[in-house]
Point group: D3
Chain length 79, copies 6
């Protein structure tokens, strides 16, 4: 009876979307439940999944809020 937590930034990857869509969330839920069945034999019935969407300003990396981190990465890569 696994419990999976998926933390992602709240932002869209499709035109007009400002967060993961319901279809994308359903695909994550199905995919990770299937993975636990395939790898560990856990019945899909007994796997719980929670998707935790985190505001961009609440997510940090490299000592910076994520948008500043990404801007710095892009600027480095374009040097």
């Amino acid at each position: 009876m696994p419990f999976v937590t998926i933390q992602i930034t709240r932002e869209g990857t499709e035109p007009g979307a400002d967060s993961a869509t319901a279809e994308q969330k359903a695909a994550l839920i199905h995919g990770v439940s299937k993975l636990l069945l395939d790898v560990l034999g856990k019945p899909m019935e007994s796997t719980f999944v929670v998707i935790d969407e985190v505001e961009l300003e609440n997510w940090g990396r490299g000592g910076l809020p994520v948008e500043q981190f990404r801007a710095r990465q892009r600027s480095r890569n374009s040097e």
Copy 2:
């Protein structure tokens, strides 16, 4: 100094409510703090509780978002 996290779906169980009410949350906080006092002798003062309400489309079970999971359960039970 226990720390308890209660993750529930954001939905109402009372007429007109679309989430747990403040009274229900207070009852959860009191009940679980009392439980830790009764079972492990932890002073209520030192127990922290966080209630994490999760949107229905962000909660999965059986490989499905929870509303589809429930619909499938109901349909099976009515067969």
Copy 3:
């Protein structure tokens, strides 16, 4: 389908025990599942509980590891 995480320090409260006993853990699991049934009407079947036991040196409060924090509290109270 709630998910409850109970984080406690790994230490005994009964003679000879250096952690919560299996009976105490079972009482926590039962108690919190019953609470969610009573307060929110959640079927006990669908509640998951995880007890996370944390080593004393890995738990901090008041800016100190918990054993030093407690020693300071005792010393203050006996003043």
Copy 4:
């Protein structure tokens, strides 16, 4: 930069193993990172995964420690 936590009971599913094997863990890590790439376009490089193995007596369901819960399920199913 997603962060995924997979909580499973500490128990073996292969002969002689008393927990998930290193190969099974590697398969979970790869599988869920690939899923986030496929569904949300997240680069595998930026996905973190933590597998949290929980002792059987620390995991509860249906108001019971998981081994008692399973025994009850088996007994019900064999009626």
Copy 5:
């Protein structure tokens, strides 16, 4: 590659703010990433931080929702 979760109540500490400001969040992200560099030598690049803001009515202490807990503390202190 540490992962840090900072859970705080959603409330402002500056005039007119009803939550931590973007500047305060950036200071938390920078400060904790720097701490892991200083204490454990972890490169800041590889530290992730998530700030989880919890509604006041979802946070409990002393068996009470946090605002009632604080009111009780103030009333005790003024005795």
Copy 6:
């Protein structure tokens, strides 16, 4: 009353140590509690910290267990 969780791999950074030392853990606890005092004015007394040490084979990045990820990074950097 903030709650901070610091997840790190279980491995030593000092000679002869196979995990963070008690002194390093105390420094993390003090440092992050002080940070919350400095940035948000939270009294150190009311901040809880939990350090969660994760086995290397249970931590993944880039779709690989962390030791394989690091080996690949080193091999890329030395090209």
